[in-house]
Amino acid sequence: MNPALIPLVTGTEVTFWVCATMMVLGALGLVLFRKAVYCALSMVVVMVNLAVLYAAMEGPFLFVTQIIVYTGAIMMLFVFVMMLVGIDRPDSTVETIKGQRVLGLIAGVLLAALLIYAIAGAVTVGPAGLAGPNAADGGNVQGLAGLLFGRYIFVFELTAALLITAAVGAMVLAHHQRIHPKAKQRDLADERMRAYAATGEHPGTLPNSGIFATHNSIGAPALLPDGSVAEKSVSKTLVARGATIDPAGLQEGTRRNFEELERVRDADEEDDE
């Protein structure tokens, strides 16, 4: 083929360089960001860009699957678990194992060099392109389906077994063994009344969080009429995490109101006299 007829830069190439840059940056972000959520987002960036590369490599089915399975399902799971375990504090940057970072970095560089050296040597033929195979069965998806339900049918069915096993395994792992019988409404009410009899604890509902007309966040403790904090108005979990709003700021409005009221009352009394 005459070299002159080949365009200097093709669309595929542009796509590659853009996506490759994004992916490397995303991967670095995954490793370097201190906040887990940022890391997850970096991961999403990498995956979406990878999907684009799949598309560029004549693999529309992989493109779709990548987005649906990885970006859609797997990353969703990750973020979901992150929310469950409550990751809101950035990771500590202090390395606890001596030399782990330096050695890990060296190992990574060596690994990269080695892989590049080894993989580069594996390229023996130029790109054959998938235009032919894709067209053979009337399209990429049809071609893959032919392989999956043909040559790879056993592997495919094995993966089905694997997925079922994984689902069952996840359920088993997540299953919480109940040691005591579940407390019913009646039991809870009885318990509350017994507590009232014993310690005089208020048997009614717990106070709501938030302050009327100023703060309705669940992290904002309720204030009693005298301006003191109602401890039970915020979840213990939030208190433990330090995610509550400082009551001093909340009390400011109440304090001002009281001052105003006292001032007005004093003024009225002077008027009466």
């Binding site: 590659f16 490397v24 490599m57 797997i74 993989i119 580069a120």
Partner: protein, 99 residues
């Protein structure tokens, strides 16, 4: 377009992910790095498929995705379990391997 570029990109991603596994203590992030490694392998498979002109590589990448999905389900369940008992997702806290 030289297929070597895809491969080198995959190698770089794999190495970065490996370093991530080595240096990050957060189990979730380490887990994501493992996923990134799998993704880089997928990239290689797809690149080879294109290079050699048949769809087997893409089928392999598809299987990797399925296996990764299964792995993530189980792995995250384990992370949840550990968090539930130890109130931590740091991989260093789970050093029960040590006697």
């Amino acid at each position: 377009m030289n297929p070597e570029n895809y491969l080198i990109l995959a190698a770089i991603l794999f190495a970065i992910a490996a370093v991530g596994v080595l240096v990050r203590r957060n189990a979730l992030i380490a887990f994501m790095c493992v996923e990134l490694m799998l993704n880089s392998c997928n990239l290689v498979l797809a690149a080879f498929a294109q290079m050699r002109g048949n769809l087997d590589g893409q089928v392999a990448a598809f299987f990797v995705m399925v296996v990764a999905a299964a792995e993530v389900v189980v792995g995250l369940a384990i992370v949840m379990m550990i968090y539930r008992t130890r109130r931590s997702t740091s991989v260093d806290d789970a050093n029960l391997l040590k006697l």
